[in-house]
Point group: C2
Chain length 198, copies 2
């Protein structure tokens, strides 16, 4: 069965969404075209606007359409506590636990020499500059509990060895080998509370 070119193009484009297979993409395309063209146009506009206007927060590197994200701009956050994460989704996951009142720094990945990802690619110098400003007293490293995430955590801890900073790593409850964003809020809250010195 071949769809008409525009429907085929839409089905193919929908496959770029994570977790969407050929059958789901088909169902999505027909659902939108048969029942909800306004929704299709709204989604089209939202995608274009976000792809064009959402950039990175200049302070924490999370996704943001403003130079400084809402969290970094907030006066109610504790700037002495800095949580270092791999991705913007992890910021969402930690925020949803309501158990952290500090600020964040998003690496945007982890060290991976095999893939040619070095310290510069994950914003380490920007992180060190941020810390050098003096407000931060504790750095909580919450990279994923994977081999790469651990290696990245140790690299960062090494860089901060000569400072007076408390450097901790979230620990209890985070399943080894997992991805932070899939961990439930209660487990994450425990992992934060049970953090230990590196």
């Amino acid at each position: 069965m071949s769809f008409s070119p525009l429907i085929q193009q839409l089905v193919t484009a929908l496959r770029c969404l994570p977790g969407v297979g050929p059958k789901s993409a088909q169902r999505m395309a027909f659902h939108l075209l048969e029942r909800d063209r306004n929704a299709a146009l709204e989604l089209s506009a939202a995608l274009a606007q976000a792809a064009e206007e959402v950039s990175e927060c200049q302070q924490c590197r999370t996704l943001s359409e403003t130079d400084i994200c809402e969290l970094c701009a907030s006066l109610s956050r504790d700037r002495s506590s800095l949580c270092v994460l791999e991705s913007p989704m992890d910021v969402v996951a930690i925020e949803q636990t309501n158990s952290f009142a500090g600020v964040y720094f998003v690496l945007g990945g982890h060290l991976s020499p095999i893939d040619g990802v070095g310290p510069d690619d994950i914003g380490i110098s920007q992180l060190l500059e941020r810390i050098a400003q003096g407000e931060v007293k504790e750095v909580i490293i919450a990279t994923n509990p994977t081999v790469e995430g651990d290696a990245t955590a140790h690299y960062i801890a090494e860089q901060l060895k000569r400072t007076e900073l408390k450097v901790t790593r979230i620990a209890h409850g985070v399943p080894v080998g997992g991805e932070l964003e899939y961990v439930d809020g209660g487990t994450l809250a425990h992992a934060l509370a049970g953090r230990r010195l590196l």
Copy 2:
């Protein structure tokens, strides 16, 4: 946790897709923005183009961006056999069985007096005009095996009583109460082969 307005708008818009809950929408939005902006822009364009340019085939009422769809325009289809279906997705489902060489007519729904859906709303007069052109010898009614689908099938059969046409309904193997598009190809092929006179 509140996302920035443009990210929130994108997450909300993604929820219009069937089967996409809040957590999947979030993951989709971040995936596109973190890793695949080109895909986001391509999906945006595909959605807009399809929503604006895909209309209905003037002969069979399936989704098509041309006045006459590829199936209706094909010279290799048997125009004496007309299969009547509820939705364009059902055309795809039947085509994928490779067991039907005729042409289609898409009602775009079923009779539902409670919801104010009458014969005019599902193109019955257009269907009768199509049949009156004389090429059709058999009408295979493949509306969903639900109460409304059955009622619609009987209504159409009633309208064709005074004609010489063979009017059949797909039967064997289609699970009662189900939706045609979820039925596997083998079952659908059997249901077609085992159709009976109405």
